[in-house]
């Protein structure tokens, strides 16, 4: 809005926003969009919390079929973790590059982050293919249903993130580094970092105890 100068008085750019604001209007627009996105992420986190809680409830529900100790393998989870955590670091470099208006840095680091995310998905795909091969499908029992839905929801989020990131790169390419798309990169990186946090929770609740305890 043009008359936001009054509203924007005293509004300081959000501490987490890696943007140099050309004017109060853009600052205000970005501030609002990012604030709304934070709230969405909180809501999304509740979904993951409940999926993990349900997994914990169904953990013993393997009805005689192989349980967590046999099904869950750290062999996949460990490289998956490395890829995803590294992608968070590289996406942070993209944010820094955005703040300093280095176009090549933004493209390069964002693309690398997405590639790492795609690598994560490839490993997860291999893990899932292995589960299917051994007959550990979600239709077997409650434990496997909970396991599949928890990692599946996270994987779906990562997949959406990869597509979203590619669209963002394309939009940067087409429209240049305009404020609207800069603001989108800020929100995209929040989303991406949240998926990391969620993965750490999944690793802690599902993979570690699952592989250690029978």
């Amino acid at each position: 809005m043009t008359d936001t100068t009054t509203d924007a008085q005293g509004v300081r750019p959000h501490a987490g926003i890696p943007l140099e604001h050309p004017d109060a209007e853009t600052a205000h627009a970005t501030e609002r969009a990012v604030f709304g996105f934070w709230i969405f992420l909180m809501s999304d986190l509740v979904v993951f919390a409940l999926l993990l809680a349900t997994y914990a409830v169904l953990l013993r529900g393997n009805t005689g079929a192989p349980g967590p100790a046999e099904v869950i393998e750290l062999a996949y989870a460990f490289p998956e973790t490395l890829l995803l955590l590294t992608s968070t670091l590289t996406l942070t470099f993209a944010s820094v590059a955005l703040r300093e208006d280095r176009a090549r840095g933004v493209y390069g680091w964002t693309f690398l982050s997405l590639a790492l995310g795609a690598g994560f998905l490839a490993l997860e795909g291999a893990e899932i293919a292995g589960l299917i091969g051994k007959g550990h499908i979600p239709q077997v029992n409650g434990f496997l249903s909970g396991y599949w839905l928890a990692i599946g929801t996270h994987g779906l989020h990562v997949a959406i993130g990869v597509v979203w990131g590619l669209i963002l790169i394309a939009q940067f390419w087409i429209y240049g580094f305009c404020p609207a798309i800069r603001s989108r990169l800020v929100r995209f990186s929040l989303y991406w970092h949240m998926l990391d946090v969620v993965w750490i929770a999944i690793f802690t609740v599902i993979y570690l105890p699952g592989s250690l305890v029978s």
């Binding site: 809005m1 043009t2 008359d3 009054t6 509203d7 008085q9 005293g10 501030e31 609002r32 604030f35 709304g36 709230i39 969405f40 909180m42 809501s43 999304d44 509740v46 979904v47 409940l50 999926l51 349900t54 409830v57 169904l58 013993r60 529900g61 393997n62 009805t63 979600p138 239709q139 077997v140 029992n141 409650g142 434990f143 496997l144 249903s145 909970g146 599949w148 839905l149 669209i167 939009q171 429209y175 305009c178 609207a180 989108r184």
Partner: protein, 693 residues
């Protein structure tokens, strides 16, 4: 191609379903014919459906709620009829057991998700931005999408009347009643997807409301404690929506996976856990109770303050009570299933937590009573609902505290005592609040008040009908009558059920009175015209704007200097200053968006296809939604410019209208009472202040 959709899905398995389906189809055809004959399609599309104006979106929510209320009432009346005639064995009464189960499932689902939710979202959408001096919601496009998703969900419930059947598993959808083994048809899937669309809409609305209250307040409202109380209750409601709705989404998605793909979340024999569903459902369900009631509390606070001609008593305590209720609402979900085998200690903890909620609620009741004390009370229709609420709600609250005691709950659990209790909370609590709010803000939305006489008749029928319909159910519950029974072998119950039937008849008269009220009000709109924009001697900022407000709400966004800003301005003769041309700026308002209703249509198709297993249509709809969002993300001029001169001229015109019609002095609150010949209370208040001085 059509999945499991076949001719078996036609509604001609009984007389009543066939009639219901015919009514839906005829109503749809009549609407289409009417729009075509009056050449209103373009008007509907460009003035309403694609509008991103928060006021129009709010009005559309309320219209949706009213339409669905009519259907839900008819179902309630059918159930009352069935139970009144259902004494005896076998097929007594007009409605079969299977159909009865559909009725109580749809009635509950509609009342919660497609009457009260859209009603309160609509009121918040309409009034809250005006109250905080904003021009629109923070995310106008998302606002429209939320509305369209809600309409899509309601559309699914309506579609289930014509194609297939709705769930018979109750509005809570517990497995096994809704599991694939017991209930293999499409009914529970209709229920799941109606909730999913409605729930997605509510989550988006919640985000939008919080962002709006947090980011769009006008200058001066950085003092949060100067916000009207309705804004506080909207904020707490929206926070509950954001944090509670994920639980519902998770529960229904798991149930859908169980039903459609053979997962085992809730199938006990295969390692699932039904109790997990019940837990998840009520982790949403109990906050949901407060999602429904808090906006009504906000409306009552505005109404009682305004019609007592006083500032709210105990404003600060009302704010804190609201927040306490919002937090505590997450700590009591287990009281919905005390009898399901948790240990005595767990039950005790949740029982005590439940009783603790009664404390802030009690604080509110006393605050409202003390606001009325020494007030100059005016019993217009909104105030009647508010007073009726206080008296009736306390009865419901007391029965709630009773049921919070686990041993007592074991006795009345799943009986009609429970049915009476929660209707005692949501009808006088939430629904009356919505009606009070609709009557209160109607002149703001349309520029004329609702007819007082028919409004009063509607109120008296509603409240007497409520008592007659639900007090017998308390008694029957104590006799041991279970809920959801189509027939019963205890003839001594029948007189009570006939009384309840008569109560439903009175409520029906109330609805008819309200329909007549609407007709009479539109017919007599010149007599009921709200000229100043301040129909009730209001105290908050929305009454400062003209009725109906222009799409930009305020030519210059008002600066707030205290609580009840507009009331104070009237006392100080500053309510209608001469507009200062230099204060006006060019503004941008959101341009219409066709993408939002299109996304709603595809979301409906997506859900419909998922219900009937038409997987190709699922993929097409999902792809269409993604493309629409992508399309929108590549439009950058989403606003319409409005020049400062236009704003200025509109404000000048409004001021001239007030001057031309004022029969008292401007700013005294006098002009708006001229229709009923009473002196403005603010005029009296001011004279008294001057006398004292």
């Amino acid at each position: 191609m059509l999945g499991r959709l076949s001719w078996d899905a036609s509604p001609f398995y009984g007389v009543i379903p066939a009639i219901a389906a015919s009514v839906v189809i005829l109503a749809a055809i009549a609407t289409i014919v009417l729009l075509t004959v009056t050449r209103r399609w373009r008007w509907l599309w460009s003035e309403w459906l694609t509008s991103l104006d928060h006021k129009k979106i709010g009005i559309m929510y309320v219209v949706l709620a009213e339409i669905m209320l009519a259907r839900a009432f008819i179902e309630a009346a059918l159930m009352r009829t069935q139970q009144a005639l259902g004494a005896g064995a076998g097929d007594v009464g007009p409605v079969g057991a299977e159909h009865f189960a559909q009725l109580f499932s749809t009635h509950g689902t509609i009342m919660i998700f497609f009457v009260l939710m859209p009603f309160m979202t609509g009121l918040i959408n309409f009034a809250m931005p005006l109250q905080i001096g904003a021009r629109d919601m923070t995310f106008p496009w998302m606002n429209s999408i939320a509305l369209m998703l809600t309409i899509g969900g309601a559309g699914l419930v309506m579609a289930s009347l014509v194609i297939g059947k709705f769930s018979t598993g109750g509005w809570t959808g517990y497995p096994n009643f809704t599991g694939a083994a017991v209930n293999p048809g499409v009914g529970p899937d209709y229920w799941i997807w109606a909730l999913t669309l409605g729930g997605a809409g509510s989550t988006l609305s919640g985000i939008n409301i919080v962002a709006t209250i947090w980011k769009e307040r006008t200058t001066g409202l950085d003092h949060l404690m100067w916000m009207p109380l309705f804004c506080w209750t909207s904020l707490c409601t929206a926070l509950l929506m954001i944090f509670a709705f994920p639980a519902l989404t998770v529960a229904t998605v798991m149930l859908w996976l169980d039903r459609t793909f053979g997962f085992h979340f809730f199938t006990q024999a295969d390692g699932g856990n039904m109790m997990q569903y019940v837990n998840l459902f009520w982790m949403w369900g109990h906050p949901e109770v407060y999602i429904l009631i808090l906006p009504a509390f906000g409306v009552y606070s505005e109404v009682i303050g305004t019609f007592s001609s006083k500032k709210l008593f105990g404003y600060t305590s009302l704010v804190w009570a609201t927040m306490a209720i919002a937090v505590l609402s997450f700590t009591v979900w287990l009281h919905h299933f005390f009898t399901m085998g948790a240990s005595a200690n767990v039950n005790a903890v949740f029982g005590i937590a439940t009783m603790v909620i009664a404390v802030p609620t009690g604080v509110k009741v006393y605050d409202w009573l003390l606001t009325m004390r020494h007030g100059r009370l005016r019993f217009d229709v909104p105030m009647l609902y508010a007073v009726g609420f206080i008296v009736t709600f306390v009865v419901g609250g007391v029965t709630g505290v009773l049921m919070a005691i686990p041993p007592f709950d074991y006795v009345v659990h799943n009986s009609t005592f429970l049915v009476a209790h929660f209707h005692n909370m949501v009808i006088p609590g939430s629904l009356f609040g919505m009606m009070a709010g609709a009557t209160f803000w109607f002149p703001k939305a349309f520029g004329f008040r609702l007819d007082e006489t028919w409004g009063r008749r509607g109120f008296w029928f509603w409240i007497s009908g409520f008592y007659l319909a639900f007090m017998p159910l308390y008694v029957l519950g104590l006799f041991g009558m279970s809920r959801r029974m189509a027939t019963y072998l205890h003839p001594e119950w029948q007189p009570w059920l006939i009384a309840a039937w008569a109560g439903a008849g009175l409520v029906g008269c109330g609805l008819i009175c309200q329909a007549i009220m609407l007709y009479v009000s539109i017919r007599d709109r010149e007599r009921l015209r709200d000229i100043t924009g301040d129909a009730w001697d209001g105290r908050t900022l929305e009454w400062l704007a003209p009725s109906p407000p222009p799409e930009w709400n305020f030519g210059v966004r008002p600066v707030v200097t205290g609580r009840d800003e507009f009331g104070e301005r009237k006392l100080n003769d500053e309510a209608y200053p001469v507009p200062d041309r230099t204060a006006y700026r060019d503004i941008e308002i959101p341009a219409n968006a066709a993408t939002a209703p299109l996304i709603g249509i595809f979301a409906f198709l997506f859900a419909f296809a998922a219900i009937w297993w038409m997987w190709w249509l699922v993929w097409i709809s999902a792809g269409a939604i993604v493309l629409l969002v992508l399309w929108r993300s590549m439009r950058f001029s989403l606003h319409r410019q409005i020049p400062a001169e236009t704003l200025y001229q509109a404000d000048m015109a409004h001021r001239r209208t007030i001057l031309a019609h004022a029969d008292g002095d401007i700013g005294s609150g006098a002009p708006m009472r001229h229709a009923r010949g009473t002196e403005g209370y603010l005029a009296r208040e001011r004279r008294e202040r001057e006398d004292r001085a």
